[in-house]
Amino acid sequence: MSERLLEVDELRVSFATEEGVVQAVDGVTFELDAGEVLAVVGESGCGKSVTAMTLMGLTRSPNARFGGSARYQGRDLVTASDEELQQVRGAEISMIFQDPMTSLNPVMRIGDQIVEQIQEHQGIPDAQARERSIELLERVGIPRARDRVDSYPFEFSGGMRQRVMIALALSCDPSILIADEPTTALDVTIQAQILERVRELREQTGAAVILVTHDLGVVADIADRIAVMYAGRIVEQGTLDEIFYDPQHPYTWGLLGSITRVDRPRPERLPAIAGLPPSLAARPEGCHFRPRCPHEFDKCPEVPPLESRLDDKPGHKDRCWLTPEEKRRTREVEPGEIGLGSKEGVGAA
């Protein structure tokens, strides 16, 4: 049994805006063990980034309200003081942001940015911190790191900057690495290099990774467990294989069905999920996916709890009222393919 690092319990985050209260995260519960990769998946605006940023205390602002807890080594990250968070942040939990073009300081040499972070958390002399930053740059695959440590971010390409971001995040040997869409801004060949690097680093350092992404291809490549979010709630969670081969929630079917694949003959039509995700300021009552779901029935106006509905899989939880038998019948499973299906059970639109 590996060590439990993080326990997030009923996390709630809302923001007061001119359009009313936006409930961005609505009762999110998950655990993270040492050395595992948890993927948080969902469409834009589902609350996945807000969840990740809240763990780092980056959503704190006068108009934000928090509820629930996120326990890390006996401390609650939600209620911790800014000073306490400062000690954890960057040292024990660090973050890789989505956009490598804007997340580095443009007027500071990259080596100095890494040295600054190391010295913030560890009182080691300048020369030693500099050596360490060169070592880190080498580890993330930057060639001629010793010559490039004094470069500015603009002298680097997108892929190289993202490597610098990873070096920065790893500088204090964190036990949790939060990666918010780390490869979305990169080309596929560079994405493959970065994912390879993250995989190696996890094996070397044993850090746990929370990977926030909308790309299920990346998830299949690297995750151990998956949490699928929709409109502020986790609608399904389980292991990689449980989610990919026995998905329980219709939204997960739709997500899995709408990905394009290069290794299969192309379908006549791409299955799509009809409609749009709801506005977080005006979510439908009950199951939030109800208006887009072809399998809606009279129980759906009531919020389904996130619980295991499969006897033999206690870790595989979902929020859908349909019974597992109904789900297996209604979801479309061609050999290895999953679709949302429709009321009539014919091909997804």
Partner: protein, 366 residues
Amino acid sequence: MTEGCNGARPLVEVDHLKLHFPIKQGILIDREVARVHAVDDVTFSLREGETLGLVGESGCGKTTLSRALMRLIDATHGAIRFRGDDITGAGRKAMEPLRREMQMVFQDPFASLNPRKRVGQIIGAPLRLHGIRGDQVEPRVRELLDRVGLASEHLNRYPHEFSGGQRQRIGVARALALEPRLIVLDEPVSALDVSVQAQIINLLDDLQDEMGLTYLFVAHDLSVVRHVSDRIAVMYLGKLMEVSPAEELYTKPIHPYTSALLAAVPIPDPRENRARERIVVSGEPPNPIDPPSGCVFHPRCPRSTEICQRVEPPLARYANGHLAACHHPLNVTPEEASVTQKDPSSPLTAGDELPAAADADGSPGA
């Protein structure tokens, strides 16, 4: 040219097109010190009703090429023909009637719609510019909104009231307003969520069927482009590496770069992913100011040999009109290699050396 055996005559022909951007330096007189070879001798044609996918990584010149086709940038060398007429140097006046026929949908639906204009004004603008009478504009705009799957009451709303996918529908409606023949789609779905991408792709598909549109679909990876394309062209550092019938590119990639691009797309299937041997191409695309000699891909290519550094490979023609510029092609049997010919669309600087039968590797995949 009349209708040949290949179906319709090309709507667009691009002939040895080059786009070089000079880099100037100097105190009193600007001196050209270097050139960015954004597009470097590219030849292809688009048949009426066809979709050509144009794929490449950032900086390969795909956007520059598509803009040149729309005459938004002037070519340095070569020719662009629309229905057989050379439009490479056509002025504003000469282009005006053609503008109706060629439209563009842009990548970023958040930046390509004027935030201060209502949807009705945005979609109506091309109609008014082309002399449609004021009272006829609104009914047409309503019809267009309906056609792209938006409610016609949305006419009076502003772009910020719509989601990314809806905005992209507005962009499509604007491009359709003048009933064009050709639409250049510059990464129309890469800014959208996967589930919404599928909606837009299906919409584009339907519109093409109904209106017989010709598409140039620009994309940065091989996953989405497959669902819309009849043929796919792969570009790297300003040059065409491979042009292939769409499905064949996925089952039988000939150029090692195409094969690397395919291998880099993660497969959303954990079991197959674990079973698959991944080849990760090292390094990054080189600087287009000083492209490598010979084959531009050789510094990153796992199959590169001495000839690749010395001689630029011509586009060799294989069965089914499949073209590839490589000295050491994949998925080609020695018999196939022995009958290839240098295609006239090869860059003028390319050598005459065709892949020798001994270099061909009939084994599938890289």
